[in-house]
């Protein structure tokens, strides 16, 4: 499961607003910073990560991410740094806690529910006999045709 989650993390498309002057010289550290940019919301923007925003706030946040990384902070520590200051709001990927928990489990629950309903309906369907029925109007029309 964890592996799957890791694989799926790689899905996010890098869309980079990062300016050359902001970037770290070490490509490994810069790659980590860019991955974090995608996880942090630009709080001054409308549903945009700092990775893609051209806002000044986002640019400052990108520089801050890189400073923290250069200081040797881990990815989790960088996230915590931002969450401490701006709340859970800065996470683009809500944590599976509180209101966020509902969000994460809603779809799997609905899938199970959907499969359950489908299976029950199929069972009932197979038990029921196949009868073709005519509406009252159709019956009347049929009678009329047969009389002729």
């Amino acid at each position: 499961m964890k592996r799957l989650a890791m694989i799926l993390c790689l899905l996010a498309t890098p869309l980079l607003a990062v300016e050359p002057s902001e970037m770290l010289a070490d490509p490994v550290l810069e790659a980590r910073a860019q991955a974090l940019d995608l996880e942090l919301r630009c709080v001054k923007c409308q549903s945009e990560a700092i990775a893609s925003s051209n806002a000044a706030w986002a640019a400052d946040a990108r520089v801050l991410v890189r400073e923290l990384i250069a200081d040797g902070k881990s990815d989790a520590e960088v996230m915590d740094f931002f969450v401490d200051r701006y709340g859970e709001y800065v996470r683009m990927r809500p944590k599976a806690q509180g209101a966020g928990l509902v969000l994460w489990i809603a779809a799997p629950l609905m899938l199970l529910g959907g499969i359950g309903v489908a299976v029950m309906t199929l069972r009932r369907r197979r038990a029921a006999p196949e009868v073709a029925q005519l509406g009252a109007e159709e019956q009347a029309r049929l009678d009329q045709l047969l009389d002729r």
């Binding site: 790689l10 869309l15 980079l16 859970e88 800065v90 779809a107």
Partner: protein, 657 residues
């Protein structure tokens, strides 16, 4: 003058829509033929009036009549003519007028081509369709009048948002609206069927082409929007899980489910009440989409209007129609008796699985989109739900869908033997695994995403080929070709649309997994390597002038092994009237990769920010979408739909009583 006539025509259309709602519905209930017949001329007249109104507004934009408030705030004399015209729907009021125009067009089509429908059902369909018009025309007339005049007209307009001055985006809204509003037909049919209390194969045959058409337009509209984002926003991102994108994606997913379940109703008379529910939900999601976009409640870059009064009005429409239809559904759905019996291993079951997956995928998008709002209202928690959530929560459903697709497509109706289907699909499976392994070794240790997508894409396309091969039967090659050519177009449409889905799937995964980018400060004359390419910044020209913009232009040459591959001129534009910069990326399109160059601001130490991206298989994303739409079109042109229409016309000439 024209403006006032346009306004007047809109008011008349509103009155006609009321007539179209009330009279045929009463007529159908009481069995009064004359009252039922009012629906058709009313629908035609309503369309003509709204078209006249739309023409009046377009005229005001074309001649730049700045005494009309809408034109003054969204147009400019220097704007190219194309964008003057498309500017009509590049704003809140005009886009709603386009919305009702398309709504009336669909209603009129039902009147024009609905000759074969039972008179009562047709009257009810037109009545329900009319009621939607009433709601939206009232919304326009009372909260969003596009014909409002200014007391003191300005000398010139404020120009259209420059991001919208683009061919891709100019035609993105009309296609989306054709899709959104097209689903209103499925909705009207569903509600009419609930009032009648019956759904049969003929109903399925009627709903399918409308849904197919709506889905086809939605596909094109979404693809245009995504393609626009790719080349215009300057990052090469093609999908952002923005609330407004989601708003168009939810009805697409539900419409895709509806398409498939309507087939079951048509062929097997099963899944009736589920199909009716999907039809209601599909249009419900279109209304939610309209609400999200038009109210600005989930603020995003797309919101034109942030007016609470408007938001409340659309919310009321949404609640009244979706809620009303769902109540009707709860009361009447039990009357819709299923007939077809089928075994667990059958195409019916596979299509149910398809429906569950698509519906849950749509639900994931829905909950992710509205959850920040819900969490804030219910618990006072501020949350962000961004692309990382959607990627993780949505993708598994598409993978599962791709896995079951070829099996469901090939197994027979009613009762299937899985072993037989498995044996015939074996070549596709082997090919898929072989290609996947090849991709896996070639890419050496990068994300597993692309190999998985390659496996799935080959599996789907291979499965489609196997199915066609089976349908070709036995015998000489000429015989086989004749049989293939004789297959119904709907079958070809299915093969083409499924292949398009596979191509998009692979394009998305390959681009995401394999793209490379380089961001740096380059001086004029600098050369550097990106991937297998050598990039040279040859020259930069500042102060290039267009009709309503100024730009900085760069000449960039890309070489591979010393040979010139592409010469690109990316621009950074500035629109002085709107006071907005835009990035015009330069893209060398290719079948296997796009080369994507963006020039940025001049830097303090001299030189320019230059971004070079290599985007493998980018075009496959939109090519796949277009192929899906083509498949839909092929299916729509099937003889069976046309013959059915002809047969019904012939039936009508026989006296009904």
């Amino acid at each position: 003058m024209y403006t006032e006539l346009g306004h007047f025509a809109l008011i008349l259309a509103f009155c006609i829509a009321i007539l179209q709602t009330v009279v045929p519905l009463i007529g159908a209930q009481k069995g009064w033929t004359a009252w039922m017949r009012i629906g058709e001329p009313a629908a035609s007249l309503q369309f003509i009036l709204i078209a006249a109104s739309f023409a009046a507004l377009t005229h005001a934009f074309v001649v730049s009549d700045f005494s009309v408030a809408l034109v003054a705030s969204n147009s400019h004399t220097l704007k190219p003519m194309l964008y003057k015209v498309t500017g009509v729907w590049g704003n809140h009021e005009g886009s709603l007028l386009l919305w009702v125009l398309i709504l009336a067009l669909f209603g009129a089509c039902a009147a024009w081509f609905g000759g074969g429908l039972p008179a009562r059902l047709r009257a009810r369909v037109l009545g329900v369709q009319g009621s939607i018009s009433v709601a939206f025309l009232a919304f326009i007339l009372w909260t969003s009048n596009p014909f409002e005049r200014l007391e003191i007209p300005p000398f010139n307009g404020q120009d259209l948002n420059p991001l919208l001055q683009d061919v891709g985006l100019a035609f993105h809204p009309p296609f989306l609206y054709l899709g959104y509003v097209g689903l209103s037909m499925s909705f009207s049919f569903a509600v009419a069927a609930l009032i009648e209390g019956r759904v049969d194969a003929a109903w399925g045959r009627w709903v399918r082409p409308w849904t197919l058409a709506a889905w086809l337009f939605l596909t094109i509209g979404i693809a245009l929007g995504s393609w626009w984002a790719y080349y215009e926003l300057g990052w090469g991102g093609f999908w952002f899980w923005d609330p407004v994108e989601n708003a168009s994606f939810m009805p697409w997913l539900i419409a895709a489910a509806l398409l498939h379940s309507a087939i079951v109703v048509e062929k097997r008379e099963a899944l009736k009440s589920w199909t009716v529910l999907l039809a209601i939900l599909a249009f419900g999601f279109s209304l939610i989409g309209t609400f999200i976009v038009r109210s600005g409640v989930l603020t995003s870059v797309h919101a034109f209007a942030n007016d609470p009064e408007r938001g409340m009005f659309i919310l009321a429409i949404l609640v009244a129609f979706t809620g009303g239809a769902l109540v009707l559904y709860a009361l009447r759905a039990h009357a819709l008796q299923a007939k077809g019996v089928f075994a667990l291993a059958s195409r019916e079951t596979a299509l149910i699985a398809n429906n569950v997956l698509l519906a849950v995928a749509g639900f994931v998008v829905f909950i992710g989109t509205v959850w920040p709002l819900v969490a804030e209202l219910a618990w006072g928690q501020k949350l962000s739900v961004g692309p990382p959530f959607f990627d993780a929560a949505f993708t598994p459903f598409m993978v599962a869908l791709a896995i079951i697709l070829p099996i469901g497509a090939i197994i027979p109706w009613k009762r299937a033997r899985l072993g037989r289907a498995g044996r015939s699909l074996l070549p596709a499976l082997i090919a898929a695994i072989a290609i996947g392994a090849l991709v896996w070794t070639m890419q050496s240790g990068r994300s597993i995403l692309a190999p998985i997508a390659a496996v799935l894409a080959v599996w789907i396309i291979g499965g489609t080929l196997v199915e066609l091969w089976t349908r070709a039967g036995k015998g000489a090659a000429a015989m086989k070709f004749r049989r293939l050519a004789g297959l119904p177009r709907a079958d070809w449409g299915k093969a083409v649309a499924h292949s398009g889905f596979a191509i998009t799937l692979f394009g998305v995964a390959a681009l995401t997994a394999w793209q490379t980018e380089d961001i740096r400060v380059a001086q004029v004359g600098d050369s550097f390597d990106v991937g297998a390419y050598r990039v040279t910044l040859d020259a930069v020209r500042e102060d290039v002038r267009g009709p309503n913009w100024q730009a900085t232009e760069a000449d960039v040459t890309l070489r591979r092994n010393g040979d010139i591959v592409a010469q690109l001129t990316p621009e950074k534009r500035f629109y002085p009237v709107a006071g907005m910069p835009t990035t015009e990326a330069a893209i060398a399109n290719g079948v296997f990769r796009d080369l994507y160059v963006v020039v940025g601001d001049p830097q303090d130490g001299g030189g320019y920010a230059l971004r070079t991206h290599i985007k493998p298989f980018a075009n496959w994303i939109w090519a796949g979408a277009i192929i899906m739409a083509l498949g839909g079109g092929l299916s729509l042109s099937d003889r069976r739909h046309r013959i059915a229409v002809g047969a019904r016309k012939a039936a009508r000439t026989v006296p009904a009583e």
